[in-house]
Amino acid sequence: MLDVGSIRRDFPILQRKMDGKRIVYLDSTATTQKPESVINAIAEFYRNYNANVHRSVYKLGWEATDCYEQARKNVADFIGVKSEEIVFTRNTTESLNLLSYSLEGKLKKGDRILISSMEHHSNILPWMRLEERGINLDYINLTPEGFLDIEDFKSKIKKETKIISITHQSNVLGTINDIDTLSKIAKENDSIFIVDGAQSIPHMPFKMINGIDYMAFSGHKMLGPLGIGVLYGKYENLSELPPFQRGGEMIKEVDFHKVEFEDPPIKFEAGTPNVEGAVGLSAAIDYLKKIGMENVRSHEKYLTRKALDSLSTLKNIQIYGPRDTEKRGGVISFNIRSEAIKRKIASGNIHLDGLLHSHDVASHLDESNVFVRSGHHCAQPLMKYLNIKGTARASFYIYNDIDDIEALVSGLEGIDVQ
């Protein structure tokens, strides 16, 4: 059991009152709040260590470089890889775009890329971009419960399938995909296997497995600051990959018409990097390690169970995603059915789904300081797959507790859906 009371005291923003009442933050899937220790680490960097990294001869420059490289090591240890295999980026989106651009040269017309129907736009659009060059993009179907359909997955792997890129945990359905199994199937086909870890690394214990070639995640979704992300790549892969952006820091030698690039990971970090971000992310990892990722995961399982149970008692709710908390994370998407207050008009080309619009649900909850996300959650293909326009979504982290779920449920009870 986590001591949520004491955890909450570490987060200054959670002390805020709005309209005299506490805030119930249920949107950690979008971004997490930051503990004092992360905020302090960033301030401490600027107070004592700020200088440009990597190319300074003087002491302060080396101390700044040390902060940056220590942060890299902390990230590497956290997921069980080598420091040289950690590239700092802006976020998951940039990490996946880096791969799209740098892997492009390995692909030829007629090759295929396989992703799933539950991906975030940031694991769709970088690949869709390659369709313009004659690469085909395939989507794995889902089961009615919201799992990947493994048979469909197998059937869509062709010998032309050069890249398979899949989210570890869905930011809409909460589904946790069995990365171990998927990676083995991918490797039997010699496909490059990429994992979007934006929703898994922050929420569960994880050690890198051999079948993963690349993995992307974001600092801001794991208590760290905005603007720092991570791309893990196996060293031998990174070595042979061309750089994404070019400029300062990332070279060994530049001649008038010739350049020799640095070794990974610096080869992929053109320009002055986000050192405060790396330092903040490292402090976030320290905070998470102190709590223990096993405890983070079991707390979220506990909250998810409670939330699923009490939300299910609302008679007009439609909940999406698997029910088994062993196979899902702490993000719950739902809609409120409302035939009664739905417009009585039907019309030719407009599909009425009998659901309250998720923005109206979120606005209603907002009135009691319950903050949930609404809309398509950057997963429009998934929405189309589910044949809905959007969902309301509540998501949990270490600072959430039963009282937050109670606030959510009683807020929803306040919607008079006869």
């Binding site: 207050i341 739905k342 417009r343 019309s347 080309n349 619009h357 907002d366």
Partner: protein, 125 residues
């Protein structure tokens, strides 16, 4: 959820439907939430003789579209093109929080973009 005026208009909009005669169609989807409206406008010499809509979306965007049609009926296109967004929101029958501005402004923005594309009198280029 909202006051009666809003809920009533949402359930029983006055301007919903596809008229028999119209000279301009504006088909607009909101990028942020997938709401969709189609405005049917019967325009004569720069005057909106009739305007009706079809669509589906959140309560705010649908009510706003119905109110917009009410406001626009019988007025000059030019005048409607110049509606001040912040006035419009201020006079809305329920408070519009910053997160819902796009919903409330959907019909105005659709109208502006659509009329901007259709080359007709009163069009402010």
């Amino acid at each position: 959820m909202y006051n009666d005026e809003i809920m009533d208009r949402y359930q029983n909009p006055y301007y919903f439907g596809k008229p028999e005669r119209y000279s301009i169609v504006i088909d607009e989807a909101s990028t942020s939430c997938g709401d969709k409206i189609i405005l049917y406008i019967q325009e004569e010499n720069g005057v909106i003789k009739q305007i009706k809509f079809e669509g589906d979306g959140c309560i705010i965007s649908m009510v706003s579209t119905d109110l917009f049609c009410e406001k626009a009926t019988g007025r000059n296109i030019e005048e409607i093109m110049r509606i001040d967004e912040s006035d419009y929101v201020k006079n809305f029958p329920v408070e519009i929080t910053p997160g819902r501005l796009n919903c409330a402004l959907l019909p105005i923005r659709a109208f502006r973009r659509g009329v901007g594309r259709a080359n007709i009198p009163g069009n402010l280029k």
